[in-house]
Amino acid sequence: MKVIVEAFNLKKTYMLGKVPVNALRGVNLRVESGDFVAILGPSGSGKSTLLNLIGALDKPTEGKILIEGVDISTLNDDQLANLRLQIGFVFQFFNLIPRFTAKENVELSMAIAGLSKAEREKRAENLLDTVGLRERMNHKPTELSGGEQQRVAIARALANNPKFLLMDEPTGNIDSKTASEIIGLVKRLNEEKAATIIMVTHDQRLASESKRVVQMSDGLIVQEVVN
């Protein structure tokens, strides 16, 4: 299997006022193509920090991250932006642009990538169809339920054929019934579309659907279980 993400001895120290906080204290992780990794752990264990580092949204204090073999610390600002184009992010709070419709939100990431309007529209419609929102693609986020918004966010994450998906508590902000739908969708993406997924979650049910569970505590990976 092709290695997509590799992290070596990742450390991240924040300054919380004048107090240094060691969010990560030496994490090693290896994710292969088609993998579905769930990162579990209590609040403050460094899960989200790890995800942000892998997603090139933040820089580690120490250690390095290779994405498809490229050390991302060597990339400049523009190259990092290009890398993020190829990573599909799904956030706990959806992070859709409120003034855009579902379809326009999905189109946005393709517009950033420079796709033409016609291409964008066609692809956005297909993606919204995949996540089961064809009927509601002209609604704005405020007119959609939490689960629907998250499905729009997943469609948006898939828009530019990402190398892998990063999900930060994708069911953390929706009710359990809707969460099952999202879990089903994520699992289907992994199984049918062979999408590589790295997911931070509190949700045991969601974690149990993954192929591998990584348990974090105090900025370290303490346990790895293959389901």
């Binding site: 942000n52 949204l57 932006a81 290009n82 992010f89 003034r99 946005l108 420079g114």
Partner: protein, 427 residues
Amino acid sequence: MKAQDIFSYSFSAIKLRKLRAGLTTLGVIIGIAAIVALLSISQGLQNTITEQLQRGFATDTLIVSAGGGFGFGTIGSSNSGFKLLVNDTQIINEIPNVVTSVAIIQRVGYVKSGETSLTRYLVGVDFATYASIYSNTFVAESGIIPLVPDSEMIVVGKRVSDLWGNGTLFCIVSDNVDILWTNATARPPKNETYTAHVVAVLKDIGGLGIGGPSDFSIYIPISQSQVFFGTDECDMIIVKLENDDEATIKSVSDAIKEAFSGQVSVTSATAVLNILSSVFSTIELFLAGIAAISLLVAGIGIMNIMIVSLMERTREIGILKALGMKSRTVLMVFLGESIIIGLIGAVVGIASGWGLANVVAIIFRRSGVFMGGNQAVRGDQMTITPLLTPTVTVLALVFGIGVSVIFALYPAWRASKLKPVEALRYE
């Protein structure tokens, strides 16, 4: 990201806050409108005045008068006792580059036809020479200007014949009118009078004249004026030059001053025009400066609004960056918003400024600003046609957009520098 997509993204952000963007745009509109209105009025005014001056006043002429100034209030002799005489033209005609010269004696007098009498300038000139110098304006509309006139012959300006320009005729060619003048220097003051014969009415001249013919004057032969006013002293001598080169004007001016031992002043029409146009440029600059301040205020408004909008949209910027938008593109999104505001503001501002200028011009025309009433400068009602030159239009456009962009640079730069992870965490 394609430029067109950046622009439509910027536009969607503006549309979201219509009132706020509208008020910001209003600031730009007011600034641009003020500049455009002021500049187009002052350029129109400048054009009107220059045009009218040029009409009544040839650039290849000099005005010689005794003492200082060119006749403003210098009736009769100057303080030094120096007198400029009618036949001093002979001295001036000897000077190289002088084509000819004509002496003018003018007094305020009355002209009476039937029961009506008017106060008018009585101007004594040599008809033939005057006509040769002002060949475009000292031209008869009716009758003939006699080159060798009899003493009782007079030529009248258009507004002496057709008083208000509406057909109310005071006198026409071949009428007899009474000329009256009060000799206030005689002891006791004495009224002089004679009956004159109108031989020609000048065509409509309009505008201001310095030394040149005017619609409001009555022209009598120079020899008659010498007898009637009892003097050989003239008020000014108009000198026609070979050409209107600066060197010619200077050399002849110097030669004339030298010939009269520095006791005359020589004014060139070109010099007056130059002074006027430099005065106008200064006024224009001053007015534009005031208007520019309002644009500056608008710029600060833009900056303020952009900073507020930046804070509100911190999270949005985080999303855009997480989706892979480059910092440069984020900068362009924000600048795009200011370009749209600046463009709309400038276009609407130019249009409303132009409208404002026309309204002002109409009010100006109605109230009828009257210029004139001086011995040397006379004129009739002025009309201002506001002038919007392409330069002003382009400048206003560039200025409106420029100010918007400059003041948006800092907020846009700040937006582009936001760290994605921090921006996403922003509530």
